[in-house]
Symmetry: C2
Subunit: 316 residues, 2 copies
């Protein structure tokens, strides 16, 4: 395995999104008020790639001090983390059934997150790489406009915003380099069933690249120049899929921020690192799969992904 060589490149990754306390039920168990939220998954994952991931978010007065210590232990810069004095932390309660691709939201108490109106700290405004978790597109736009000259901005979004805030989402999309959606969202946003045609329509709206998540079928990276496909890792047991998409985004953006390299070969590897991290996340409940990973475990899984898809060319 080769090593990256970096010259005078100063890594910086800004992560914005939710921090939550989740109650999760899957066929394999239940966890109550466990650490969750898009920004939590993204920043924790990215912390395996670079130090000083810049986190901007809001939590309530009930947020466990131990979890703040956890984020600090991952060398995440929490100087942009607001703690509400009067409100509780965002709480989501979800139930997964036998088909883990489907889930029901039992409760979504926004609490402190309702007031989330992020002001980017001065020392974060020079961030080169920016990962905006799935929040209101108006907030995403306000964040981007506070930045000096980001090199690469990626947003996540979902059907809720495509249906309810399409004009606002389209305004935000003009400002981003890459967007993450799942396959049904790509179809909804473009009105095209075929994913290549859908991507072309979405490129006209602003982003130059798309990641299309297909759940158990993996993910696609589609740019104007090439397509890359990574399968999902075949696990005998998916313990809890919560945060898989955010973990993917964290691995993808973590690798890009670490290397600063937007070449096709490096974008492909970023997609694989995203999938590697997501496959490790879903093996345990909640954030547990990525709380404490060794470099060796990540690189072993990377090798397993290689064996899963690589073949040697021999001509007929």
């Amino acid at each position: 395995m080769s090593e990256i060589k970096l010259k005078n490149y100063k890594m910086s990754l800004l992560v914005i999104g939710s921090l939550a306390l989740d109650t999760i039920e899957t066929p394999f168990g239940k966890a109550e008020y466990t650490l969750g939220g898009s920004a939590t998954f993204i920043s924790t994952t990215a912390s395996y790639f670079l130090d000083g991931v810049r986190l901007v978010g809001i939590v309530g007065n009930d947020f466990p001090a131990g979890e703040i210590e956890f984020l600090k232990s991952r060398n995440i810069d929490i100087s942009g983390l607001e703690i509400s004095k009067s409100k509780k932390t965002f709480h989501w309660h979800g139930v997964y059934h036998t088909d883990m691709n489907q889930r029901d939201s039992i409760t979504t108490d926004l609490n402190a997150f309702e007031d989330f109106d992020p002001v980017i700290p001065e020392n974060f405004r020079d961030s080169e790489f920016v990962c905006l978790g799935n929040v209101n597109p108006e907030i995403q736009k306000k964040v981007i406009l506070q930045l000096r000259k980001p090199k690469f901005v990626m947003i996540d979004t979902m059907n809720f915003w495509i249906e309810g805030k399409l004009p606002q989402l389209k305004e935000t999309m003009k400002l981003v380099d890459m967007m993450v959606v799942n396959d049904s969202e790509a179809r909804m946003l473009s009105g095209e069933d075929n994913l290549i045609k859908a991507s072309k329509k979405i490129f006209e709206m602003g982003p130059k690249m798309l990641i299309i998540k297909k759940g158990e079928h993996g993910a696609l990276l589609i740019t104007k120049d090439f397509v890359f496909i990574v399968p999902a890792f075949l696990l005998e047991t998916v313990f809890d899929p919560t945060g898989a998409g955010d973990t993917f985004a964290g691995g993808f953006m973590g690798w890009l921020s670490k290397t600063g390299d937007l070449s096709p070969a490096n974008l492909k590897l970023a997609v694989v690192y995203g999938s590697v991290m997501a496959s490790l996340a879903v093996e345990k409940f909640s954030l547990d799969g990525i709380r404490s990973l060794s470099r060796e475990k990540i690189l072993n899984r990377l090798n397993e992904f290689r064996n899963l898809t690589h073949f040697d060319l021999v001509s007929i």
Copy 2:
């Protein structure tokens, strides 16, 4: 691209299945009484890998002489092709809707195929590689028992036989090396939702390897030792998916028969050749996508598959 080196290896591939005249409607057009059937797709595809593919099947008295000439022009050995004097050729009429993963069968007239009770010609009984298209498992078994000492037997099957002839299918499965099913059939046959668990159950029934087709999401090769995933090629327009699975099987078995090599690396490449051929087939109507392919076109698509999934390892 490297070249294969073969020493004293005598290629032989026996193909058994249906030959049909299909009427196909897709959102892109309609073809009437066009050449179809599993054995047709398998043998035509395999003919790009080796000469003298051994075809056993039955057609009716209306089968176009020109199509027999076509099969001969592909150097397919049709000495095992029976021509019914009194009946017409198997006719299937299918309609695909906007979602090309779904199709309705309007007509299925078995005609001559109803009497299909294949007697394997003496000079075919030493075949090393055997590809049994999706027919009644009792017929598949009768064919296998007529063979001397096949090196590798593969069967295709479908939900119709899993539901209607499960005991017979299980008898046949004891005699085969590999089986091809789609994901829902793997789940139906095993009673397991997870495809790794499903494969383990199916291995207990006989086959040592499985190919699980996932339509637009590609295909899996699962053996007792490793898993390999190949995506479907992302096409902007899938013109007609008829025969895609049989074309996959033809490419897979064609490559294995050509090389005689059952190593993991070569099995992986066989899966890729199967996908390459299937991706070329669905670009045109019916058999047209694979009637006349150049070696260059096949190798170009092989390279495109490589670019779609390959990445270079760089460590974090």
